[in-house]
């Protein structure tokens, strides 16, 4: 494995991503101002700065370890299905309130059944389970626990 390949592996990219996050966090921490007593050592930015420093040191140790290792440590497997789940979930959350619980959840369950290959060859069972899951959790949250779920199209 050459150096470029080493740097591209996800076990290395992830700590790099965390390094970037830590840098944003540290920049924001340095802008925190104490409300009283000036910026003493134990002010509100003390802990964030301390944690950022610890994080940098630990991430560098992790990065060095990952770069030295030849094999990919994370278990293999396609990212397509998890990505589809994330996209479906993001759309569900975005539509949850505008569409209401029932239509949004029906759509979400259909999407998940398709992603997880559940009952795709038996449309009647597919439809039954979609409705059953939506109804079951409506009954649990709204019926049993008295939670107000978003109504259909924000209306009724």
């Amino acid at each position: 494995m050459n150096n470029v390949e080493r740097f591209r592996k996800s076990a290395v990219l992830f700590p790099v991503f965390l390094l970037i996050l830590t840098t944003i966090y540290l920049a924001e921490a340095l802008s925190i101002r104490s409300q009283f007593g000036g910026d003493t050592i134990v002010g509100p930015r003390f802990m964030p700065i301390l944690m950022a420093i610890i994080m940098y040191v630990a991430l560098i140790v992790v990065l060095v370890g990952e770069l030295r290792r030849d094999e990919e440590s994370a278990s293999s497997g396609s990212f397509l299905r998890p990505l589809l789940v994330v996209v479906a979930t993001g759309i569900y959350i975005a539509l949850f309130r505008p569409l209401g619980y029932v239509p949004a959840t029906l759509g979400f369950v259909i999407a998940l059944f398709l992603i997880f290959d559940f009952e795709r060859r038996r449309p009647a069972f597919f439809a039954f389970y979609v409705i059953a899951v939506t109804a079951l959790f409506y009954g649990l949250f709204a019926g049993v626990f008295g939670v107000r779920l978003p109504p259909v199209l924000g209306g009724f």
Binding site: S10, F14, P15, L18, Y25, E28, A29, I32, R33, Q35, F36, T40, I41, V42, G43, P44, R45, F46, M47, P48, M51, I54, M55, A58, L59, V61, V62, G65, S73, A74, G77, S78, R81, P82, L84, V85, V86, T89, G90, Y92, I93, F96, R97, Y101, T105, F108, V109, L112, F116, D117, F118, Y129, V133, T134, L136, F137, F145, G146, V147, L149
Partner: protein, 505 residues
């Protein structure tokens, strides 16, 4: 004595239909989640966390305790029948239980697992009730620098327990602490890391972190490993015929194991439970290794040792009692389940600490009673009633199961605060936890860092403020010094000791 009477009153609270119903429902949910490979009792409690907003604190805590006990026991079901531990703490049971299963003694193995769980869980609950007042007395003696050193001790133990990935443990714990710094400062009324949005001024709640870390990330992990199907194994297991009478272990076998083994393993499990981050897996492993070392029939280990099952199951169920001690007295959860239970307490306005026992023992006593009743009555009863159908129950199609979990997790993260933003946070933390898990960073360390972060910061800054920023206060204060020495000793003991490879056959 007063406290003891309050604890006895906890059993009275279980006589209420509502509380009893939640305990039984929790136990059945915990059994299902514990038995199902890929699902854990932690996930069950995480999914039910939002519901605790809508019910009283007593049934919520009672339900959490019964899920915890059930999840710890039921991991042994699939461990024995299909050699896949339903929970990591049932790893040793899988070794011995499945060997017995292959010899045609599967029901007998399940019976021994249930008996060990029953005895261990009951002893753990009794020890919890017996030593809680003493722990409360000790907690009263600890001052602010000591509290900092105690929280530090907990975090250090959580990090070094995974010896192979200490740097990753530090990253995960630090990440949790950093997330906890978002929102209003712990000592001054100024917002931090709100990035110009009002949504983050109040900080990040426990719920989206828990739902994301345990439910959404599990969904993503399962989605990635979708082709590794269990259906074939489950189909074969479904063909097994199990009779109820075979579940009852013969007296001769129990005598051969010896009550000393059960009691010793339970005490070990309870003690390990008190340690932060150790958990049921370590309890089961240590008790199993000790039972093997002192066994009269060590040659049976690896080929279906009933004694091995008894020791492992007794220890991991007893751990449940121990794990509650640091959480209730110091606000330091020993494992993810008690971390979520801590969330339930805080949601309901209860502050962990010695005063909790003094002033609100009536609220936590039913939880202790639930642990005891779940172990002593519900474990054997569930095995007897549902034992022959366990495999059919866990054969539910995974597409249906995980789609349902997704709906419960997301709607659950909405119902607590009626906030779409919380749902987005749950998704975001789910993706983050997915990558943490894929690259062997401990999600539990992140969660415990998130929970303990505010205490760590508060005690550190208070101690330094009172001493003009001089850190020597942590060495001159006796209780702080004691915890710092304890931290060094534990770090030395854990890091020095090489794992005994021969402990696992």
């Amino acid at each position: 004595m007063e406290t003891f009477i309050s604890f006895l009153g906890g059993f009275g609270a279980l006589l209420s239909w509502e509380v009893l119903g939640f305990m039984i429902a929790g136990f059945l949910i915990g059994t299902f989640f514990g038995a199902m490979p890929g699902l854990t009792s932690v996930l069950a409690i995480a999914l039910l966390l939002p519901i605790t907003y809508t019910i009283d604190v007593v049934p919520a805590l009672v339900m959490c305790a019964s899920i915890f006990m059930a999840g710890m026991y039921s991991g042994s079901i699939t461990a024995t029948t299909i050699n896949i531990p339903g929970a990591p703490s049932s790893m040793m049971t899988a070794v011995e239980g499945n060997a017995l299963m292959l010899k045609g003694h599967g029901a007998n193995a399940l019976g021994h697992a249930a008996l060990g769980s029953m005895i261990g869980g009951s002893i753990g609950a009794i020890l919890l009730m017996a030593f809680m007042p003493l722990a409360a007395e000790l907690a009263l003696l600890i001052r602010t620098p000591g509290k900092f050193s105690l929280v530090l001790f907990a975090l250090v133990v959580i990090i070094i327990v995974d010896k192979g990935a200490i740097a990753k443990g530090i990253v995960a714990t630090s990440l949790g602490i950093m997330l906890a710094t978002v929102g209003i400062d712990v000592l001054q009324p100024i917002p931090r890391f709100e990035f110009g949005t009002e949504l983050l001024v109040e900080g990040i709640g426990l719920m989206p972190v828990v739902i994301g870390a345990f439910a959404v990330s599990e969904l993503l992990v399962q989605a990635q490993n979708w082709n590794l199907s269990l259906e074939g194994t489950l189909e074969r297991a479904k063909a097994l015929r199990i009779r109820r009478r075979d579940f009852i272990p013969p007296w001769s076998e129990i005598r051969q194991i010896g009550f000393f083994t059960y009691i010793k393993s339970a005490i070990m499990g309870y003690s390990i439970g008190i340690l932060p981050g150790a958990g049921g897996s370590m309890a089961a492993f240590v008790a199993y290794a000790d039972a093997k070392r002192s066994s009269k029939q060590p040659e049976e280990y690896g080929y279906g040792s009933r004694e091995g099952i008894a020791a492992a199951e007794s220890a991991n169920n007893s751990m449940c009692g121990g794990a509650f001690v640091p959480m209730l007295m110091f606000g330091i959860p020993g494992d993810p389940t008690t971390a979520i239970v801590l969330g339930v307490l805080v949601i309901n306005g209860l502050q962990p600490g010695p005063r909790l026992l003094e002033q609100q023992a009536d609220l936590i006593a039913p939880m202790f009673a639930s642990l005891f009743v779940s172990a002593l009555i519900l474990i054997p009863l569930t095995l007897f009633l549902f034992g022959p159908y366990f495999i059919k129950i866990v054969s539910i199609p995974r597409g249906l199961l995980y789609s349902s979990i997704a709906v419960v997790a997301l709607v659950g993260s909405y119902v607590a605060t009626y906030s779409i933003f919380q749902m987005f946070l749950a998704l975001m933390f789910g993706v983050l936890a997915f990558f943490l898990r894929k690259h062997n960073y401990s999600v539990v360390a992140m969660l415990l860092g998130f929970i303990l972060g505010p205490d760590l910061e508060q005690y550190l800054r208070r101690s330094l403020s009172f001493n003009d920023g001089n850190p020597i206060v942590f060495l001159t204060n006796l209780d702080s010094l004691a915890f710092l020495i304890l931290t060094v000793v534990f770090a030395y003991l854990i890091l020095r000791k090489k794992p005994k490879l021969d402990a696992i056959p």
